[in-house]
Symmetry: C2
Subunit: 185 residues, 2 copies
């Protein structure tokens, strides 16, 4: 586990962040954060797979993001503004995470400019991912969005339920089936 | 002009950023950044109004953001990754800006941890704005998006052309007219 964090952090810094966190196992369909709650924690994903999902009043699901291992998960805007999360963070597969309380993270952040730069890189990455996602939704048709999904998440079309992929692409599952058939033929 | 930057920065820091920038005037419909170019600059908007706009191969416009004074404008993801901008940054009104070269900005950023924290706050703000925008586009119908627009940008419905507002809401100008009539009656 430690090795995974050491891929993105110097050994000493990896130890620091591990020392303020708790290693936890999360089951598929379990929520790390629920919509409506004020998030007080973030996590680093060692292994597994998560999604960020909006669920509207009629129970319709909109998967806004898919998060793989070696990334952080958080309802970031809500956490920093101390407001309710609008979306759920749900495990898609059994996952192992390093859960970190936001309060402890803030103390770490103040302790060393290194962490501010580290955080900046992650927020920048999140910003860039959101920008590409927005562009795909605004400019591409469903077929091209599916191609973009396959490129962004290699191998995921087998690990993620078709209903979730459809809700990520903003289409009905039936439309996804049609698109996939078209590509197979 | 200086006073405006001093609203968001200590005097000494406002002077620092002014010293690396150039004050410029931009006319309505003029581009600050063009799609296809690798952006090498950002700017602080003293007065005026800008939009970020995607234009697809058929000439359709998608206004992805509206940026008021006292904010920074940049094609940020493209700038930091040294790739081509996917969108245009266009002045909607005659505007006065402080144009800053990205290279000079990077030097400033390295000079003092203050600027890293300052940048982090802006990227976080941008991230949160994008998240709300994404939510509005995914979860709200056109009418509710219009109400959300009026709330986010008070007074703007008179300063911005209807075609641009419609392209921000992701609807046809005729649909916007219908929605506005409904609200008036």
């Amino acid at each position: 586990m430690r090795n995974l964090l050491q891929n993105i952090l110097p050994t000493e810094k990896a130890e620091e962040i591990i020392s303020i966190g708790k290693i936890k196992r999360i089951q598929p369909n379990e929520y790390f954060i629920r919509a409506g709650e004020i998030p007080r924690k973030l996590a680093f994903v060692f292994t597994g797979l998560f999604r960020y999902v909006y669920i509207d009043d009629n129970g319709n699901e909109f998967t806004k993001g898919i998060i793989q291992n070696n990334s952080f998960i958080s309802s970031y805007s809500a956490m920093i503004s101390k407001s309710s999360s609008y979306f759920f963070i749900e495990a898609i597969e059994e996952s192992e995470i390093l859960e970190i309380s936001y309060d402890k993270w803030l103390v770490l952040l103040e302790s060393d400019a290194f962490w501010v730069k580290f955080l900046l890189r992650f927020v920048e990455k999140g910003f860039s991912i959101k920008e590409k996602r927005e562009r795909d939704l605004l400019l591409l048709n469903a077929e091209t969005r599916y191609v973009s999904f396959l490129k962004d998440f290699p191998g995921m079309e087998k690990r993620i339920k078709q209903t979730i992929i459809a809700s990520y692409l903003g289409i009905q599952p039936e439309s996804l089936s049609r698109i996939k058939k078209k590509f197979q033929s």
